[in-house]
């Protein structure tokens, strides 16, 4: 391992520009003649649009254009779609309602876009947007998914009778029922996974520029996957053919999933640019972000876990209702199915599993993947019910888990997943040791004397990331393949550019990807540049989400590096008059092994481009590309232990210790991995203790529309984390790496809640466990 190669704690190259405020985000982009847009949005959760009167708005100062859904439709702009087909258990395809980028005759959630105003300034655009007179006929709204399924509930889409999008199942229901009937003990729980708002630091933004002379569109947008955005906007929304549409996602300030999807705003800005003849920029304000970014989670679940007399798990039965909001967002359908139910076996041998999922429309913002996407929901269900079962049968939660761990690999679960490698006991032991699990009762006693209730909780999570192979996801209904691409360009002086289909929006790719290259060729990090986020520069790629950039994106780079290495060695062998097989690359030189004959890397590169002296028949240049399609998902896993103290007078919870022991396979940059784990835990703690998106049930208004009411985690809410990693290399990719981006958010919520329920001796507690809820649960405390 070199100082800058794989495994080195290299400081992030990109941080200089981020920390000094020199990052370039969509809102920093300026195009000559650019004007500003504001959207007219529905103030109602559910209403028919009777009439839209734009006359007054058109006369407002600075107004260039006021455009509505009718014109959009007339120009043939398509509806937004969900790109993953799920079939109900009766074989019928999911019931997808129409989602027009600008609502034409009905609005279905507060914030639904109705019209766009383009004006000289942002302020003028907003003033004029208020002057657009929309006549609404308000309808009854429903925001809760369980309520939306009841007969007589307000109906959102004619395509989805009873608001039901699909009624899907996986696993063997009869086998699970039989095992539950025969069980020595059954733990039954009602579990709610609270709705979250993603809250990326940078709000969504789009700048659409139609170039009339070239008949060409450019879209700067806050996207995690610009190529997918181009593909979808071209193939489904009829904005422009792919060769006439360039999508650029420059520096992007966080995504957490919410910037995977193609939203109405970027489509409308592109269309409005052509329509109005000026480049059109829109930047969401924070309230728009709360209202219209795709939200996360929002499940209501009934779960049964069966144990035999030896405390072996015999069955798991799960019944989930998933709130999809008013429209089906791009990947929404996959989240509570193939990213959720397929992970319900967790780290355990569970002979029978069955899960039923009903996906439901409600008058709320669309719900889609958010950091973890389905896997946090699965982990929360399983790890809460396992911990509760241990308490009910009176055994240590750690020992119940240990008894049921999967110990031989590969392991085929009853719910599709085939785990390739893992060592759950090592993580459990590491976490218990770091947490001084054995010493907990003493600490509990000490806390009691100080008037505090101390509790400890555990979570043994597994997740699946680097979703692939493409053929497999295709067979499950995905509309796209989930491979990744890379191109490695060695310049004539030996410096290197890597063009990657992955997209960095906080992950540190400019550093880790360069480390991979540096390791291979001994080239200093500052001579390696990572290029991403522009469809005109980079070959087709699939983008960054689901912790896939390491396992899939870097594997593609690895494959391209293999090709470069082969050619470089051929050139060096020719220059050194040696055999190709004897060439090794060391310290920036290509050497004949065991001799002092060597050619510097830059000289080899120069030779490739001067082409004065290349092997017979070799093409000049040194540039190679690769597409990589993994053979399986990769399965990070770990054990998290949380320790809390609850103030019984107020219900306030303090996290006094948080331990994470993760298995991420091989690690490129431990500092960046730790950063990912810290951030993930912060978001998981946020979900467990603080964050909850609330709609008013009657009016459908978003109550938590700002930080006055939506509690974001702050540094002072979090302890200093104790993190460690172990390593069972992933056999399914050439680098042996798993994914670390979501683990923290997946593993931590159940650990936190299990700790609080231990402290207050009441297992009935819902997230976010606010002081008031903990206080009320403590008052009602009777263990069930």
């Amino acid at each position: 391992m070199g100082m800058e190669g794989i495994g080195a704690r290299v400081a992030r190259k990109e941080d200089k520009r981020f920390i000094t405020g020199a990052g370039r985000y969509v809102d920093d982009m300026v195009v000559p003649g650019m004007k500003h847009a504001a959207f007219v949005r529905s103030p109602y959760a559910h209403a028919d649009i009777r009439k839209i009167d734009i006359k007054a708005a058109e006369k407002m100062p600075g107004v260039i254009a006021v455009l509505t859904g009718k014109e959009l439709k007339a120009d043939g702009i398509g509806n937004l779609i969900c790109g993953w087909m799920i079939h109900s258990k009766d074989g019928s395809p999911m019931n997808m309602g129409a989602w027009s980028p600008l609502a034409v005759d009905r609005v279905r959630y507060v914030g639904d876009a109705v019209a766009i105003v383009v004006a000289e300034t942002k302020g003028q655009a907003r003033d004029a947007a208020e002057a657009v007179a929309v006549s609404y006929k308000e309808k009854k709204a429903v925001t809760d998914a369980v309520a939306a399924l009841k007969s007589g509930a307000p109906q959102l889409h004619p395509e989805a009778a009873g608001n039901l999008i699909y009624d899907w199942e996986i696993g063997d229901s009869a086998a699970a029922d039989k095992a539950i009937k025969a069980a020595a003990h059954v733990t039954t729980m009602h579990i709610v996974n609270n709705r979250l708002v993603p809250n990326a630091m940078e709000p969504r933004a789009a700048l659409g520029h139609y170039d009339k002379a070239e008949d060409h569109y450019t879209c700067w947008t806050t996207s995690q996957n610009p190529h997918v955005a181009r593909l979808v906007m071209s193939a489904f929304y009829n904005v422009a053919p792919e060769n006439k549409l360039r999508v650029i996602a420059p520096d992007v300030g966080g995504g957490f999933g919410s910037k995977i999807y193609i939203y109405p705003e970027e489509i409308v800005c592109l269309w409005a640019s052509k329509k109005s003849g000026v480049p059109v920029k829109w930047v969401a304000d924070r309230t728009e972000s709360f209202m219209t970014d795709a939200h996360g989670r929002d499940h209501v679940t009934e779960v049964k876990l069966a144990l035999d007399k030896d405390h072996k798990i015999t069955a798991l039965k799960v019944d989930t209702i998933a709130n999809f909001g008013a429209y089906m967002s791009l990947f929404s359908s996959a989240v509570p199915t193939y990213l959720y139910a397929t992970l319900l076996s967790g780290q355990y041998v569970i002979p029978a599993i069955h899960c039923n999922v009903k996906a439901v429309y409600t008058n709320t913002a669309p719900v889609d993947a958010y950091r973890g996407a389905g896997r946090p929901e699965a982990t929360y269900v399983l790890e809460r019910v396992v911990e509760t079962a241990a308490r009910e049968v009176g055994v240590s939660p750690a020992e119940l888990r240990r008894k049921n761990f999967i110990r031989s690999f590969p392991y085929q679960t009853p719910v599709i997943m085939n785990y390739d490698a893992g060592d759950y006991e090592t993580s459990l032991n590491a976490a218990m040791k770091a947490a001084d699990y054995a010493g907990f009762e003493k600490r509990r006693e000490k806390a009691k004397k100080a008037g505090k209730l101390r509790g400890i909780g555990m979570s043994c999570y597994i997740e699946a990331c680097g979703i692939a192979p493409s053929a497999a996801v295709g067979s499950l209904g995905a509309g796209v393949g989930l491979w990744e691409s890379a191109e490695v360009r060695v310049n004539a002086v030996g410096t290197i550019e890597v063009l990657t289909g992955s997209h960095s929006h906080g992950q540190g790719h400019e550093t880790t990807f360069a480390q991979l290259v540096s390791q291979r060729f001994g080239v200093p990090l500052d001579q390696v540049s990572i290029v991403h986020g522009d469809t005109d520069k980079v070959q087709m790629g699939m983008g960054t989400y689901g912790s896939r950039s390491g396992a899939v994106g870097m594997s593609a780079i690895h494959k391209a590096l293999d090709k470069v290495e082969t050619k470089a060695k051929k050139i060096a062998a020719h220059l050194l008059e040696a055999d190709e097989g004897d060439i090794v690359i060391e310290n920036g030189e290509l050497k004949v092994a065991g001799t002092d004959k060597a050619v510097p890397w830059f000289q080899m590169a120069l030779s490739a481009y001067t082409a004065h002296n290349l092997p017979e028949g070799m093409e000049p240049g040194l540039k190679e590309g690769a597409f990589y399609d993994p053979s399986n998902f990769t399965f990070p896993a770990g054990c998290y232990i949380c320790e809390v103290e609850v103030d019984p007078d107020t219900g306030q919870t303090e996290i006094v210790q948080f331990v994470a022991a993760d298995d991420f396979g091989n690690i490129i940059n431990p500092m960046i991995v730790e950063g990912q784990v810290h951030g993930g835990i912060a978001q998981g703690v946020g979900q467990a203790l603080l964050e909850g998106c609330v709609y008013d049930a009657g009016s459908g208004q978003l109550v938590t529309a700002s930080y006055m009411d939506y509690t974001m985690p702050r540094a002072s809410d979090l302890p200093s984390f104790k993190v460690s990693t172990s390593n069972t290399p992933c056999p399914s990719n050439p680098l042996g790496i798993k994914g670390c981006g979501e683990a923290g958010a997946i593993g931590s919520p159940p650990a936190v809640i299990n700790a609080i329920t231990d402290a207050i001796q009441n297992n009935d507690l819902a997230m976010p466990a606010t002081p008031q809820k903990v206080w009320a649960a403590l008052k009602a405390a009777t263990r069930h």
Binding site: G123, R126, D127, E130, T287, D649, T650, G651, Q652, L690, G692, V694, V703, T704, Y707, M708, D709, Y710, T711, M712, T770, P771, Q772, W775, A776
Partner: protein, 266 residues
């Protein structure tokens, strides 16, 4: 935000004049609520008249037991005033826990009492301390000044110039912050004098700051946290929102009162 005109007043008289000239002029003294409201386009004053830089409104005076705090004194200035810290540390503690450093360096005591946010900290202190709110026209007892949610006895062209109070024998403040906004979800200020105890509650009442009879009765017998053991405060007329029910707030009133008394007793 809608377009507005900003004026920096040089004196109280200048401020009054500027407001008279404006179509819909609003005084601003920190703007910790008003500017946010304007950004959300929920308020649209034609003119903002900034009082924060008026010299005569700034500064803390301590003379024996008598305290005068100029209306344009920021929370950070109150928090760090050495003479005040000696005379009445509870006020410094309160000011040091308002919002965050940005808020404490922008927000002022005059702005806070004139705004009378039902979850602001200062109104509880003013009420429990029997403070006098001094304006450019008159002096108003705190008990008559705070009249409801965001409502005060102030007339449109009336400007708070200072608050004054006599330091009590003992006083203390404790608040439980709203998890999201960090405003007081319930805050209790207790003040003990020879003639009795006053306990004012902010963040909890559905009509703004109020005095808790239950807490005062218990503490008048014995000014000690133990006097509040078993005391129940009625949830009637308390707020319920997504963060806290009225019952929870009723509990917090007793808990925060205990902590305020403990702080007062040092």
């Amino acid at each position: 935000m809608y377009q507005t005109n900003y004026h920096r007043a040089s004196s109280v008289a200048d401020a009054v004049k500027l407001q008279k000239k404006a179509d819909d002029g609003k005084f601003v003294s920190g703007g910790m609520t008003l500017i946010q409201t304007m950004k959300q386009r929920l308020a649209a004053p034609s003119d903002l008249i900034d009082l924060r830089h008026i010299k005569e409104l700034k500064g803390v005076k301590v003379s024996g037991k008598s305290v005068t705090i100029g209306a344009a004194t920021t929370h950070a200035e109150v928090a760090s005033d050495a003479k005040l810290a000696k005379a009445c540390p509870a006020i410094c503690h309160l000011a040091a826990h308002i919002g965050d450093p940005h808020v404490r360096n922008m927000g002022t005591i005059g702005g806070s009492v004139a705004n009378n946010d039902p979850a602001a900290d200062y109104p509880a202190a003013m009420l429990a301390l029997d403070a006098t709110i001094v304006t450019n026209k008159r002096e108003i007892a705190a008990a008559k000044f705070f009249t409801g949610l965001f409502e005060t006895a102030l007339k449109d062209d009336e400007i708070v110039t200072a608050v004054t109070f006599t330091v009590p024998d003992k006083c203390g403040y404790s608040k439980f912050p709203n998890p999201a906004s960090r405003y007081a979800m319930t805050g209790v200020f207790v003040a003990k004098r020879k003639d009795g105890v006053k306990a004012a509650v902010t963040g909890a009442g559905d009509d703004g700051v109020f005095r808790s009879k239950e807490v005062e009765a218990a503490l008048s017998k014995k000014f000690d946290a133990s006097a509040l053991d078993g005391v129940k405060v009625s949830a009637k007329n308390l707020m319920t929102d997504i963060h806290a029910t009225a019952e929870y707030r009723a509990n917090l009133i007793v808990v925060m009162a205990k902590r305020a008394v403990a702080a007062a007793n040092g």
